[in-house]
């Protein structure tokens, strides 16, 4: 069967200032296929599709849609061509309802007749088996519901080419499964689906073909069936990469942190941490697993002195640090790096350069009112070299760096201050493979130096491979603390869902050592 080419992009170039985001990219998508666009961060994936959706215009090259050459100058034009983009950060208006968001910018009669519109939307939803409460406000929705609204929105406008920019980054495994069913339905219905990702397992499960980008260039387009993890990784990173983490041995040190019956309150006086008790030794990595929002953030922040503690104690080397201010806690050698969901970083100031961001934590230790930038500059240079941070220069505002490099700046600063206790949350969030493994190595290096590490993570495989022990949080309570050697991924999943350890032993997800 002859396949219709829906999208053809030839020799696309796009530069932002001095950064060449796309260089002579060639990209073809057929009708009825799910095409994965694979590449590390900063490989130019988002830039490329943003030229399809009319956000950017290419500097050079040509675009053909359904075989006809086009120039796409605005998102509106993209819609008219049947191109619908679902952005990584959803483009929805929080205060409006799902229906209102879907109807935005639609042409038609001056007055909105919601009833008629609702019928039309409902029909689209039935066609593709999608479900959502259309009268619900976006601000009351979960991430996965918001994504569904975005999908309905583009389908409602008659999109034939769907682009999803990192759609799974914010979803739970079950939600991802649901999304993939929807995508397969769409492809079967004759749409072309482009899915941007840097996760290999997703490429393998969902896509028909895959195009690999590296540093703004097309490397290859392959049939998914005829390729494998190893080949894709090599194409993506440019060199062979070892995909296993070797848990390095280290001497278990002294008891470093002892948290007892810690309870903190969130909004509406709800307990976000409920009677949390655990300990952490020097030279060990204690992992924290849990569905997003189970109290991880509050845990980090209460230890760092940023969150008010309702009751309980946090004893760091024989001293209760509850009630100390963040600066005093930093002085004691407790360091925190938290990468929030939007990745722009907590603890860094985006418009400042690396040197000034290093100074943020150090300036208080300098005497007098004048600031000496020299040591900070040396430190920034040291961090840049050590973590191999890609930046035009030390005086470039860090918001201009890619997400991964920003994360490295944050982690690098914390490690360089030689902490005794390092709290790190999602340090590899959104990072590509090569860099993630760099970061895991850095953490292990710290562990071998005797630093106690509290590692809050998402990827269960990594948690099991990297950590010595894993503590699982569910709704602010600890459902279990286990040796990572003795637990399976499924077992962790059950604990995350609130099962108890004893129940796990019966089901043999936990092998007694």
């Amino acid at each position: 069967m002859e396949k219709t080419v829906f999208v053809e992009m030839n020799n696309i170039c796009k530069t932002f200032g001095v950064i060449r985001a796309n260089r002579n990219i060639n990209f073809r998508v057929n009708q009825g296929e799910i095409h994965a666009l694979l590449g590390e961060n900063g490989a130019g994936k988002s830039t490329l599709v943003n030229m399809l959706s009319g956000i950017y215009t290419p500097d050079a090259g040509s675009i053909e849609i359904y075989g006809k050459p086009v120039k796409i100058h605005s998102p509106r034009q993209a819609f008219e061509l049947g191109i619908g983009m679902i952005h990584q950060h959803f483009k929805l208006i929080d205060v409006l309802t799902a229906a209102e968001n879907i109807l935005l910018s639609e042409k038609g009669s001056l007055f909105l007749s919601e009833k008629e519109a609702l019928k039309k939307i409902q029909k689209v939803m039935e066609n593709y088996g999608l479900l959502i409460d259309l009268s619900k406000k976006i601000s009351d929705m979960s991430v996965s519901e918001k994504q569904t609204v975005e999908i309905i929105k583009v389908l409602y406008r008659g999109a034939k080419i769907l682009i999803l920019d990192e759609p799974t980054a914010v979803l739970t495994p079950q939600e991802i499964e649901k999304l993939f069913v929807i995508l397969r339905n769409l492809a079967k219905g004759g749409c072309a689906v482009i899915i941007i990702t840097h996760k290999l397992n997703e490429v393998m499960t969902i896509s028909d073909r895959v195009t690999v980008l590296r540093q703004g260039e097309t490397i290859a387009t392959l049939d998914t069936q005829s390729t494998n993890y190893r080949e894709l990784t090599e194409l993506m990173v440019g060199k062979p990469v070892d995909l296993t983490i070797e848990r390095l041995p280290s001497k278990k040190g002294n008891l470093m942190l002892e948290v007892k019956n810690l309870t903190v309150l969130g909004e509406h006086q709800v307990k976000v941490l409920d009677n949390v008790t655990f300990d952490l030794y020097g030279g060990e990595i204690l992992g924290v697993a849990g569905v997003a929002g189970s109290g991880q953030k509050e845990l980090c922040e209460s230890i760092a002195g940023l969150y008010p503690v309702e009751s309980g104690s946090i004893v760091f080397e024989d001293e209760n640090i509850v009630g100390l201010n963040p600066r005093e806690i930093i002085r004691k050698g407790i360091s925190m790096s938290f990468i929030p969901e939007d990745r722009l970083g907590m603890g860094l100031i985006p418009s400042m350069d690396m040197v000034d961001n290093m100074l943020l934590k150090d300036y208080v230790n300098q005497p007098g009112i004048a600031i000496d930038r020299k040591p900070a500059r040396q430190k920034a240079e040291r961090v840049r070299k050590r973590l191999n941070i890609q930046t035009p220069g030390l005086s470039t505002p860090i918001r201009k760096l890619s997400g991964g490099n920003i994360q490295k700046v944050l982690l690098g600063r914390e490690i360089d201050s030689n902490p005794r206790l390092l709290i790190t949350a999602y340090p590899a969030r959104g990072l590509d493979i090569g860099v993630s493994y760099n970061i895991y190595d850095l953490l292990q290096e710290q562990k071998q130096k005797g630093v106690g590490i509290l590692y809050i993570g998402e990827d269960l495989d990594v948690l099991i491979e990297l950590c010595d022990r894993i503590m699982v949080l569910c709704d602010g309570r600890i459902t279990g603390i286990v040796e990572s050697k003795s637990i399976t991924k499924e077992g962790l999943g059950l604990l995350m869902a609130g099962e108890s350890l004893t129940a796990l032993e019966k089901e043999e997800h936990l092998c007694r050592l």
Binding site: F16, M85, K91, L92, V95, L104, S105
Partner: protein, 312 residues
């Protein structure tokens, strides 16, 4: 007595009502415009001059609107196209409007509008209205007013319908809430911003014209006396809602005339204190507004942020 007071409160509130609506349209598309006072003064002086020349109320109002929007056009070009700082640009517009009105107003000083112009804006008297029990006097507060006041109410109600019931209204709310999302949805953000900033300017011009044509009605320096600023605060107080704007305008119209009323009752209160009332109330209103942080009372989220599509 009370009816009379309320009637004058509605009258005093009318210029505020126009100004609030004007500021609201600016802010609903995400532009914080501090040039309200300037645009009101431009409208006031242009309307007055046109009235002297033409003796025609329509032409007077038209000129007030045109000059109000011309001020807004400067602001829109600077903030939307050139992406200058909205606060500074708005302040500059106020200074510009004030200066221009003062400069041109020197010639208008002491002039009085001809009688056959002013008769167009005489309060209507509606027969039999007062004979309706209870409701009659109450209705007369709103109905026995001049046509300009009517125009204010109609503008507010139309604005409300436009904002909450029509497609462009939905789109314009989206622009103010999240400009990037609106753009990605295919809304022509620049066009929406220009249109509604200009519309806002026209409304502010009308507010100014009410002062010089009906309320005073002659030219005096600084005729707006800070009403544009009060309007900026009242937009927050009335939650960017045109219907609530009516209530807010009448409330502050009442405070505005409270001084005269109390003086005429021979109650010994310092007159300077009384004149301070609307401004003092403005501050109180802002404080209350920032304390009651409910979800229904939040400004458009992208208020004050310049938008550039290709920004990384």
């Amino acid at each position: 007595m009370l009816i009379l007071f309320l009637k004058s409160a509605v009258i005093a509130g009318t210029p505020l009502l126009f100004a609030i609506l004007g500021a609201m349209f600016n802010e609903r598309v995400g532009n914080l415009n501090l040039g309200i006072e300037g645009m009101m003064l431009l409208g006031a002086v242009a309307g007055f001059q046109a009235a002297i020349y033409s003796n025609n109320p329509f032409i007077a109002l038209l000129f007030a609107m045109i000059f109000g929007s011309l001020g807004a056009l400067i602001y829109a070009f600077l903030t939307v196209t050139l992406r200058t700082n909205q606060v500074v640009t708005g302040l500059t517009l106020t200074i510009f409007g004030t200066g221009l009105a003062r400069f041109h107003g020197q010639k208008l000083m002491g002039m009085v509008l001809p009688e056959d112009f002013s008769r167009h804006f005489k309060p209507l008297s509606i027969p039999f209205l007062h004979e309706i029990p209870v409701l009659g006097p109450f209705l007369s507060i709103f109905l026995e007013q001049d046509l300009f006041v009517y125009l204010g109410f109609v503008s507010a109600i139309l604005s409300g319908i436009y904002l909450f019931k029509t497609r462009p209204g939905l789109n314009l709310r989206a622009v103010g809430e999240s400009t990037a999302s609106a753009d990605a949805s295919g809304i022509n953000v620049t066009l929406y911003k220009y249109i509604h900033i200009l519309l806002g300017g026209a409304l502010c011009g009308l507010g100014g014209a009410y002062l010089s044509l009906v309320y005073v009605p002659s030219w005096q320096e600084n005729i707006t006396s800070g009403r544009g600023w009060i309007a900026v605060a009242l937009v927050i107080f009335t939650s960017w809602n045109p219907y609530k704007a009516i209530g807010g305008a009448i409330l502050f119209g009442g405070l505005d005339i409270l001084g005269f009323r109390i003086q005429s009752l021979n109650i010994p209160v310092n007159q300077y204190f009384l004149r301070m009332m609307p401004y003092l109330a403005t501050i109180i209103v802002i404080i209350i507004g920032s304390i009651r942080k409910s979800s229904r009372h939040t400004p458009p989220k992208d208020l004050g942020n310049p938008y550039f599509r290709e920004e990384r």
